[in-house]
């Protein structure tokens, strides 16, 4: 078959009955070879870097808006908590922070009327995370949730990363038992996915196995542990002092290390096949924005 423009010229020439149809090259096979040539170099890159950010490091305005909302909201709540309740009531203030900092993401997500394809993909990823958490129920804190969340943040953007993290924590707690820890877990897991998306879009986090593993380790150790340890302190005791904080961090360190090593293991094993599958789905069903 000839391509459209060539077909047109050929048909024009043919229908007008000209003897020699002008400028109809029949060597388009070779041209296609020529076009495919640079792709081979890209293929080599593809081996290393699993996927590349679209739009050259620009964040969507909605993501920037939610970052600002978070950055403004948290100090306002802390200030309000100190001003109106007395500052001893950490539990109220921190619960309010965890709850209210999750709300803007949900509102932004609701406000833009997401496509059904996006909704379904997010729910599949969250279901994979929930099923993974359930499958490893006999190994405490060795869970693949953070790995799935990071991969979805990288492939579908910061917002999707947050949604997958928060939804999978809330949903899996419906199976494992809700408690006062749910808002913190939602926020912590969500922010891991959100940061993964932002760093990837900015080009600071490359979608390589190595860098993903490093990010996964640091994020689980410092973001998840860094949020959940003070949260458990707040749940158990009101007194937050430097000494108490240090004690709870040290006592939580082994658990966090197990969690972080789980994340690294799952990222190392699953990052490439998962990202390949997600990219394939994106290309096959035209889910790439812009």
């Amino acid at each position: 078959m000839l391509r459209e423009d060539k077909l047109d010229t050929f048909l024009d020439a043919f229908l007008e009955g000209r003897e020699n149809p002008p400028k109809v090259d029949l060597d388009f096979w070779e041209e296609a070879e020529k076009i495919r040539q640079p792709e081979k170099e890209r293929f080599w890159d593809y081996q290393e870097i699993l996927t590349a950010p679209k739009g050259k490091g620009k964040l969507p305005p909605r993501t920037i808006a939610s970052v600002f909302l978070i950055l403004i909201l948290i100090p306002v709540i802390i200030f309000g908590g100190i001003r109106y309740w007395d500052d001893r009531k950490y539990l109220k203030v921190s619960l309010a922070i965890a709850f209210l900092s999750t709300v803007p993401f949900f509102m932004v997500f609701e406000g833009r009327k997401p496509q059904t394809k996006e909704l379904l993909t997010i729910s599949v990823l969250a279901a994979i995370a929930v099923a993974g958490r359930a499958a490893f129920f006999m190994v405490p804190s060795f869970k693949p949730v953070a790995a799935v969340v990071i991969i979805s943040g990288v492939c579908f953007g910061a917002e999707a990363g947050f949604m997958v993290g928060a939804v999978s924590m809330l949903a899996s707690n419906m199976l494992f038992g809700q408690g006062p820890w749910t808002p913190w877990q939602m926020f912590a897991m969500g922010i891991i996915g959100f940061l993964a998306g932002i760093l990837f879009q900015k080009g600071w986090l490359k979608a390589r196995k190595g860098s993903l593993c490093i990010y996964g380790f640091l994020a689980t150790l410092f973001i998840y542990g860094g949020i959940m340890n003070p949260a458990s302190l707040v749940m158990m005791s009101y007194a937050i002092t430097k000494k108490n904080l240090l004690a709870i961090y040290i006592s939580g360190l082994p658990v966090d290390f197990v969690h972080a090593s789980a994340t690294v293991t799952f990222l190392f094993l699953a990052a490439r096949p998962m990202i390949e599958k997600l990219e394939r789905i994106k290309i096959k069903y035209g889910m790439i924005q812009e």
Partner: protein, 322 residues
């Protein structure tokens, strides 16, 4: 007896909004007040309801195994690290141990314990369909995601079996070969599952679009109605709650442990007793409602059984001898 077990609990048959706001109110108040009387009443209510919902054996086993040790640890952490208070009891390596810190540690531990107990009831009553129904209007996209997640998890399990059987027919089952082979086959099966899940999701979304998901004027089916009983229950609970709030304003529910223990509402006066009574009825409300309904059902059952076992010649007169 068998029929009783089949019937759902009376309070969980109320409208989801009543259930949700009841649990939120009770859990938040239990978590944010440190008043010992309130906490004790709340504990009693939560324990009774948990036993009613899940059976006493399971509740007691779970609590003795998991919650009690955690509670003891929490109760001991506070006095060893915090040294506020005025009543010194003895000295440890970390510093003086005070009565106030010990009491506060126990209060904190019981607060956590009560919250977990209430949440276990919440998990039984607020099933996912209720949650999705309740938030479907406010956050439609998110609640769709939720219901999808809950649907996908068992769906994946079923599909996993299908894939395994297929692979088994090819001689690539997890039970074949050495360990390395087994792991390889397992990974293949998982990979197939994930690919299938993603494709299936896209197909589902196309199907949803084709059936008009997200178009204007479409309504969602639900079997929940806000009936007259729900109105009565919510008015009753709101009245009791407002008594509690008035008590809170008057400082009856005030409690302080640092630096000295100060607890409001003592000595007992008519106001404080009424506040405690109101809170007690709130906490025991689900159990009371269930027991009352059980009693009325049993009465009806007895009546029905009696009428059924009557001989035919007495039926016309309704069981009364002429």
């Amino acid at each position: 007896m068998n029929q009783n077990q089949k019937r759902a609990d009376a309070f969980s048959q109320c409208h989801p909004a009543v259930n949700f706001f009841y649990f939120m109110a009770v859990i938040l108040i239990s978590m944010f007040t440190s008043h010992p009387v309130l906490l004790g009443i709340s504990f009693l209510g939560a324990l009774c309801y948990a036993i009613r919902l899940r059976g006493w054996r399971q509740v007691i086993k779970f609590n003795l195994l998991f919650t009690l040790p955690a509670m003891v640890v929490v109760a001991f952490i506070n006095p060893t690290f915090n040294h506020y208070g005025v009543t010194f009891l003895f000295y440890l390596k970390t510093g003086p141990v005070t009565l106030e810190a010990i009491v506060y540690g126990v209060v904190l531990a019981s607060m956590l314990f009560i919250a977990i107990l209430w949440f276990s009831c919440y998990n039984e009553v607020m099933t996912t369909d209720k949650f999705v129904y309740l938030f479907g209007r406010v956050i439609p996209a998110l609640s769709l995601v939720f219901s999808m997640v809950f649907r996908f998890v068992p769906h994946f399990g079923a599909q996993l079996n299908v894939i395994r059987s297929g692979q088994k027919a090819l001689g690539r089952d997890m039970s074949n070969g050495n360990l390395l082979r087994k792991i390889k086959y397992g990974i293949t099966i998982l990979s197939i599952l994930i690919t299938w899940a993603l494709e299936n999701a896209i197909e589902t979304s196309d199907s949803m679009r084709a059936r008009g998901y997200g178009l204007k004027g479409r309504t969602a089916f639900s079997i929940f109605h806000f009936d007259r009983r729900d109105v009565k229950v919510s008015v009753f609970l709101a009245g009791l709650m407002s008594i509690c709030i008035i008590g809170f304003r008057q400082g009856i529910l005030f409690a302080q442990y640092n630096p000295v223990i100060k607890i409001g509402g003592f000595p007992l006066r008519i106001q404080s007793v009424s506040v405690y009574l109101a809170w007690g009825i709130i906490c025991l409300f689900p159990v009371l409602m269930g027991v009352l309904e059980d009693l009325s059902f049993r009465r009806l059952e007895k009546k029905a059984n009696m009428e059924r076992s009557l001989p035919w010649y007495m039926k016309q007169t309704g069981g009364q001898l002429p």
